[in-house]
Subunit: 341 residues, 4 copies
């Protein structure tokens, strides 16, 4: 069985990784590559690293996309709403890597994006696609989570669910490589602006905060309040999320370790580790590493997670969800090992 | 007037910066350079970037150090205790960039270092040398603060002193360039281990946490509890500290801005800024940038500080203290502008 | 059919890539992992990025290595001679990624290494394993080429063979990422020594110069003289080789392009390209890009080649040779696409 | 005496360094800062690293520039011709860091830029401002050299002048940090395009080749032919130039060393060194390091030079020339030591 796949937004960083993963996947075949401004050009012009660069990019307008078994969309914010609804109506399986369908309610969307959702009724049809924590097996429309929420929620949800930590006072500080900021032509993304420096951005206003709160609430039923500060660090890939959260009772590091280990038993891509994880250990793979600590003087848990923001944080997680939606082995075609150095 | 200076630990990263700054200072002259394992060799062998590389390094043993007006020590932890006491007894002015004399009590030292101070009585003779917050004008023995505490305390102390934030629940997440880890030959400091990656270290156990708590308590009289997680990011220099701290009452970002601005009126090296500061804006200079934010949904202040860890976080701050101790203009010989790109 | 493989030197950078590639290869299985100082420990301690990190490393002594179909050795210079001879005597297929068996004569070895080969008679039994230019199909003992010679020879040999360029006056300047320098604990390989800087090394004395001359002479019968200057640039992976070589007659860039294209027709991993290639386009893949130029005012050809030094320059090329030696498809199990960004 | 200075092009990378150096210079004062698109804004918006960021940028039109003692121009190619002629007519001293007035003849300009000079008569009025090799003491109009020619010519001219090397067969391969490519908003200058990669550019066509040939010819009277291939490496600052050039007679490395040392006796910024120089040893300073080697098997000299492309390669060299033109000490206000790490 070969599943035909259309990849829309193939010219971006996440889109390029989707093409690479689908090209290497034993059961998927990319039969259509679509892009916005790069439409009409060849794949090699935007992704010289990929094989078969002579493939021509089509557009992203749904009518121009042929019938396929699965549509993967990696489009800028706002650009997936229209195509997402169109493909949903067509009855095809869709995984959206963007942020248009991630949030569960119009209010949450408004809080995250500062504007009303253009088609709020559509929100309820999409499943939040973090496969270790939400069952996507029967979903046909999946909104893949943001990279920061992926890393944060993998560490937080099992602890909140176990009643060990206070979800009302979560502090998430996170560091991302530059590929997370996308491929836009912005002065603040030049090598001359980024190398040898670090900065916070979206302070007190990043759209991933409401998504994290939603994830906790959907998975545990516990109200959550998150303070989230993301930082850009001078590297291409990788994401580290450091979460500080008050303990609700006296527990040891071993207790946290056990709860997390149990939560991810059988999960092919999440490893609970007993040393501070490094992003380099996961870059190039679809793995997530999670490590719990206890800060005894202050009574806080500290949980550190590491992922490749373009794989487990984007394209890899989407293929993982696709595998499950299609009844394939969860880990099929996904790299289990990273590249180092 | 020329002040003669001995620099001990001249072969390390902070030591090299001390030599560079003293060489360029109109009123200081490095008359003695001492090092441990590099003793006997020439300066150019350990610091090819410095001028007059033909200078020969002596040892760090106090008897071998000639009479000078000022001793600057940048030695590994534990190595300044002996020389520090010897020079203090000699009556000379000393600034120690290490951690041997920074903490005010034997208990705090034990908490930070996991071992008793070898000469606890000496601790009381040293002044904590963060010049914007502690008056070092009349001090003869100064312990220059750690880099992380410098950046964190500049943002925290004015807010705690003003009664605006809850010092009992401070979360400090920080990112440092590699020069902060020193010049040791360690596998985890190889380019192949560091580039393109980020990691936390010293989680729930870093010695700078007690120092931060001490700084707040000494400056404000308020008990403090800090959760501190430092991270290494792949850059040579620069430090960013992101502090999350509950507000005690409803204040606006402008209120925080005003309190901080007032606290640093006339301070030549601290700028309170209204956008998220980047380390690149300060690297190469002795400046510190501090920016306050309010996270309204959670009722927290977020304060972000940026410094060059080797200048305002080490050698620059030491020269700043020296200027004040010697009755010279506070900013003399210190770079007001950074290098960018 | 599954081919059992022993990987000796599994703890190094090239060794880690061998493990990753063999683990992902449909027809190879790593049944033994050997290391020198890391012997006795687990794979995860030296390669936290790899899957099944619980595997225990054995030693590299031939008697301790079980019977396998293929031995891959990635050992420091000098360390493969003994094991290489032992495995050769055992009759097993061996690919040595080191420099012990690469050179064809004792004289060339002496020139390259400044010391006589310890077992010169063994040299003749090994095949130089650059599969696009030397047929390894029937070889049982293969010495995989150095990374610099791989990149340089792919560009040079077809042009020399066609009589277009003067092999007696070749200038090769090359730039390598740090992984090429290996994982040794050296002060000059610290992040603090490497980041934000570039340097030449081995000037007028690098051992890869004689290997380049040998490659040209074996493949074309033309005597060659190469001036070779390698440089370290601050990146983990990737190698760019810029070759300047006098034209013997007036040819156009299109002529060079045609000769090279014809030479690599059907080669799955070499692409002749018409724009200046970037290392980023090949990192993560086994591809080599080669681009010819003509500098008309001086009458020189300029040929630029890009490879991933750990893949086409080391582990990938070894697996490519193994595929051919074993009668498998040349590209089996090798990544055709790179990772970018 | 304070010399009033106008800096035009203050918003670029070289312009920012001019502001920094003039601000720190004991005898110069920046009384006017001009920029093109940033005109009307404050200095801090384009150079947050500089002191007194509240200064407002004016335009670059000569009529809007007040009377000053010295004009420094760091404008894009083509943009200095008009202002340069206008200021020359005004009789003011001018140093142009751009490429409009560097070449000595209209033919050379045409060769370098592929277009005729818009005002060829003006070319003869400008002096080529490489102070160690051309006397600028009495010049009023100086064209500061390009960064690549600066580094290459410092190594080449003394050897050609001494008749030791064949100027007709020079191969220059060079590596530059990204700041050399300027601050333009180009996709190929994004961090995501540059980090972890290296590339050649301007192959067989870079405009600095004719400038190098001119420098040799003007200084030595010997016709020169240069093959020049520049490369971008992933670092902010620093430039390394590796030159390979046939020896005309049998000389030792010591001979080359002696010729170069003698040539730069008394030069405050050029050091002839006996080991392979690293860019990190000069970044942050106005120094140039030059190291000669002999490749005996091929009969070539290899000369390696390292500079900070923004200092000795641009702004620092301009201030050095200004000092000489103004009768000030050559090294005044220029950093003798670099920053490391």
């Amino acid at each position: 069985m070969t599943v035909s796949v259309a990849i829309l937004g193939a010219s971006g960083y996440a889109g390029g990784e989707l093409v690479r993963l689908v090209d290497a996947h034993p059961s998927l075949e990319a039969t259509y590559l679509g892009a916005h401004s790069a439409a009409g050009g060849r794949l090699a012009e935007v992704h010289p690293q990929l094989a078969r660069g002579e493939r021509v990019l089509g557009g992203i307008d749904p009518p121009s996309v042929p019938d396929v078994d699965l549509v993967l969309m990696a489009l800028p914010h706002g650009a997936s709403t229209g195509p997402g609804i169109a493909f949903a109506d067509r009855g095809v399986r869709v995984i959206d890597l963007g942020s248009d369908f991630r949030l569960d309610t119009p209010d949450r969307y408004l809080e995250a994006h500062g504007a009303a959702h253009p088609a709020p009724a559509a929100l309820t049809r999409w499943m939040y696609g973090l496969p270790e924590l939400f069952d996507v097996t029967n979903a046909r429309l999946v909104a893949a989570p943001g990279c920061y929420p992926t890393a944060a929620l993998l560490g937080l949800i099992p602890l909140v669910r176990a009643g060990l930590v206070d979800a009302g006072r979560i502090v998430v500080d996170a560091m991302s490589g530059l590929s997370g900021a996308g491929r836009s032509l912005r002065e603040d993304l030049l090598f001359g602006s980024i190398a040898e420096g670090v900065r916070a951005y979206g302070v007190a206003s990043h759209r991933h905060r409401p998504e994290m709160e939603m994830g906790i609430e959907l998975a545990t039923g516990v109200d959550a309040t998150v303070v989230f500060t993301p930082h850009l660090v001078p590297m291409l890939r990788g994401m580290l999320v450091t979460t500080t959260i008050p303990l609700l009772r006296s527990v040891s590091r071993e207790d946290l370790f056990e709860v997390l280990t149990e939560a991810y038993e059988g999960a092919p891509f999440v490893d609970v580790v007993d040393r501070s994880p490094q992003t380099r250990w996961v870059v190039g793979s679809n793995r997530a590493l999670v490590a719990p600590f206890v800060d005894e003087p202050s009574g806080n848990a500290i949980v550190i997670s590491a992922i490749d923001n373009l794989l487990k944080g984007a394209a890899g997680q989407a293929i993982q969800a696709a595998n499950l939606m299609l009844g394939l082995p969860e880990a099929m075609g996904l790299p289990a090992a990273g590249l180092m150095p």
